[in-house]
């Protein structure tokens, strides 16, 4: 199995400056490959300290400059936030030249209302924008030009220069979190990037349906999913438990706040987000602490042995070809994040590399 490092650029509490966060996040991301990781990943977010990577393809371009062997991935480019998907196709094509084709592009739909608002995009159109924009980009990258006539996006023929030099088949993914959306990605031929908020075992059966639908639609196997999880690894069992609880709870609290996940009214009547209403009601009723515990149950934490077992379990459940770990989140001090990363890299990572690419 391949191993990825996910950078989040979080600065919710502003205990340090954005500048310090950037300096340190970059330092850790540059450590990933020497420590044995195959790839570096990040996520698009705007306008708050929740996550500060507004152009993930630009960050990956920076990382491409640091190494001639590192693989790169977005988890995700939030495609409905882009007014002109053909520009994103250009950015992808250019980046693929920089890194000689070692790029995987994950697209997402986004659910941060503040980001939709500040970027001037109607959240109720997000699903439609996602489907149209990913189709426009996928076709564009295969044909070398974008041309599309959709309900939302209309693109007169536009050459992508530099021309894509390698097919993106099997390299375009969709980040999915909510129940029921995995199967939707079979038809457009997208791989699945699992950013889990619910039990891995629940995802397993959905993946089976997706794989069958993919086979039927495309006459080929779906690309292996990429599994993402938050990691806290420490040789001391007690410390691992306490610190994981502390940082993962803070992280999850930040998620609930950023997305207004505890406010059902936030999603009421927003097309495409119907099942967020019930989820939000559930979070509101259960309280953030209880929900944070559910979140933790899905993630990877404990001694190196416990982390290894958990990732083996994830691998077995979803058959991921790659696992991406997130080692620094909320306002975790960078010294702690680096310790976390290094412990994982020296103890867990070598064992994971022995796992087959498919379960």
């Amino acid at each position: 199995m391949r191993l990825g490092y996910g950078a989040t650029f979080q600065n919710p509490g502003q205990e340090i400056t954005d500048r310090e966060v950037y300096r340190e996040e970059i330092r850790l991301a540059r450590l990933a490959e020497p420590l044995g990781f195959d790839s570096v990943w990040s996520t698009e977010h705007h306008v708050t300290g929740y996550q500060m990577c507004p152009d993930v393809l630009q960050f990956l371009s920076y990382m491409a400059g640091t190494s001639d062997t590192l693989e790169l991935g977005s988890m995700v480019v939030v495609i409905p936030w882009h007014q002109n998907p053909a520009r994103v196709a250009e950015q992808i094509a250019v980046l693929d030249h920089y890194c000689d084709g070692r790029l995987t592009v994950g697209f997402g739909r986004g659910s941060g209302r503040i980001e939709f608002e500040k970027l001037g995009v109607d959240m109720g159109q997000a699903r439609e924008r996602f489907m149209e924009a990913t189709a426009l980009i996928e076709q564009g990258l295969e044909r070398g030009y974008c041309e599309y006539d959709g309900a939302i996006f209309k693109q007169a023929r536009m050459e992508i220069r530099p021309s894509p030099f390698k097919s993106f088949k099997g390299r375009l993914y969709a980040g999915v979190a909510s129940a029921g959306s995995i199967q939707l990605m079979a038809k457009p031929g997208l791989g699945i990037l699992l950013i889990p908020q619910r039990p891995w075992a629940d995802i397993r059966s959905e993946l089976e349906e997706y794989r069958a639908a993919f086979r039927k639609q495309h006459g080929a196997e779906a690309p292996p999913p990429v599994g993402v999880a938050w990691v806290f690894c420490d040789e001391d069992e007690q410390r691992a438990r306490d610190e994981a609880a502390k940082w993962m709870t803070r992280y999850w609290r930040g998620v609930i706040e950023h997305y207004d996940f505890a406010k059902p009214e936030n999603f009421q009547g927003v097309k495409g987000y119907e099942n967020y209403v019930g989820q939000a009601q559930g979070i509101k009723d259960a309280g953030i602490d209880a929900i944070a515990k559910d979140f933790m149950d899905v993630q990877v934490w404990g001694t190196p042995k416990a982390c290894l077992e958990k990732i083996r379990y994830i691998h077995e459940q979803v058959g991921c070809g790659q696992f991406v770990g997130i080692f620094r989140y909320a306002d975790m001090p960078f010294a702690e994040a680096e310790r976390n990363l290094r412990t994982f890299a020296t103890t867990v990572l070598p064992e994971l590399k022995k796992l087959p690419a498919k379960a």
Partner: protein
């Protein structure tokens, strides 16, 4: 004198795009070891002219593989960008490069680019002016907010925020005496990017200085850029240099559709309409190329040095950006040109 180099990713020879990209990136890698002070990239879309749709992205790549040199855009064509996103991208580059960003901005005149990006070219000048105002203030404050005729952006706080001022690091690629005075009003510098005869560029610079004088401030010395051809053999330099530049000018003619007539209808592009009229005949085309040619230093190392120093004096420039590979030139010729320049011309310029 500060001396930078630029990589335009020109593919007028229609080489394989991947080969072209790798070759130009490899030339860019030489900037730091050869002793240049900065590396610059352009923005162009859709044609073989320049395979460089996002200068902030390519400079982020170079931020990952350089330590010392500054990284400049010449230019980010603002009307082709969303005001929030372009500010975010500039701030990211500054974080990746630890503050080594130099930001040239401009308006762009390619019809094919305006059309396919879905931007109204008729309003390009007014739009560019509003976007420049919006961006310069956003980069200082970290807050993007603008209420103009064309740009309406509700207040938004950008993260990551700026960590050092952009004062002294922003430049407008001003190509007419009407636009260059705007630099003074915004307190920014000026880029001289060759697109006409030297005297015409001098007129732009003069208007720029006068505008600064009117507000009682000293104009920052302009940055001037050009492509050069240097060879120890003066005959080869003259002959091969002219041949390479004729191909380079052909690339410009193709991309900007200078063989057409569309500029005549555009209130913003009177000067370019005149170019279109001129090159509508073979004699006129040659006359236009003859007028452009003096902007490009061509000759032995000594001749090239002298031409650059003459231009520096003419523009009162403080920084110079050199382009070694352009038009339809092969990578091997481009690298030869660059290395000879770095060895024989660069030290003298840096000593100035």
């Amino acid at each position: 004198m500060h001396v930078g180099m630029c990589i335009p990713f020109m593919n007028h020879a229609r080489a394989d795009d991947h080969e072209l990209m790798k070759g130009e990136l490899a030339l860019g890698d030489l900037a730091e070891p050869l002793g240049f002070d900065s590396l610059w990239c352009f923005e162009h879309h859709f044609t073989s002219y320049m395979l460089s749709p996002n200068p902030l992205q390519v400079l982020s790549y170079f931020a990952g593989r350089t330590r010392r040199i500054q990284l400049g855009t010449m230019v980010v064509v603002l009307p082709w960008h969303h005001p929030v996103r372009v500010a975010e991208e500039v701030l990211l580059l500054d974080h990746f490069s630890h503050g080594r960003t130099l930001l040239g901005v401009g308006r762009g005149i390619g019809r094919i680019e305006y059309e396919r990006l879905g931007v109204d070219q008729v309003e390009s000048k007014a739009l560019a002016i509003e976007l420049i105002r919006c961006l310069t203030s956003t980069l200082e404050s970290g807050v993007c907010e603008y209420d103009g005729e064309h740009v309406k952006q509700p207040k938004v706080q950008l993260r990551p925020g700026p960590f050092q001022s952009f004062r002294g690091r922003i430049f407008i690629g001003a190509g007419s005496p009407e636009t260059s005075p705007m630099c003074a009003e915004l307190g920014v510098g000026m880029l001289v990017i060759p697109q006409k005869a030297p005297e015409a560029h001098v007129a732009d610079v003069t208007a720029y200085r006068e505008a600064y004088e009117r507000i009682g401030a000293e104009a920052p010395a302009p940055i001037f850029q050009n492509m050069f051809f240097v060879d120890e053999d003066p005959v080869r330099a003259r002959e091969e240099g002219r041949r390479q530049f004729d191909l380079h000018y052909d690339a410009i003619i193709d991309h900007y559709e200078f063989r057409g007539t569309h500029m005549a209808a555009d209130k913003n592009n009177k000067a370019y309409a005149a170019v279109q009229r001129l090159i509508s005949t073979p004699e006129g085309e040659k006359a236009w190329k003859d007028a452009m040619f003096p902007m490009n230093p061509v000759g032995t190392p000594r001749q090239v040095r002298d031409q650059i120093l003459d231009q520096r004096k003419m523009f009162g420039a403080g920084r110079f950006v050199a382009g070694a590979r352009y038009g339809a030139m092969s990578m091997a010729e481009g690298e030869r040109n660059l290395r000879l320049f770095a060895e024989k011309v660069l030290p003298a310029l840096k000593a100035e």
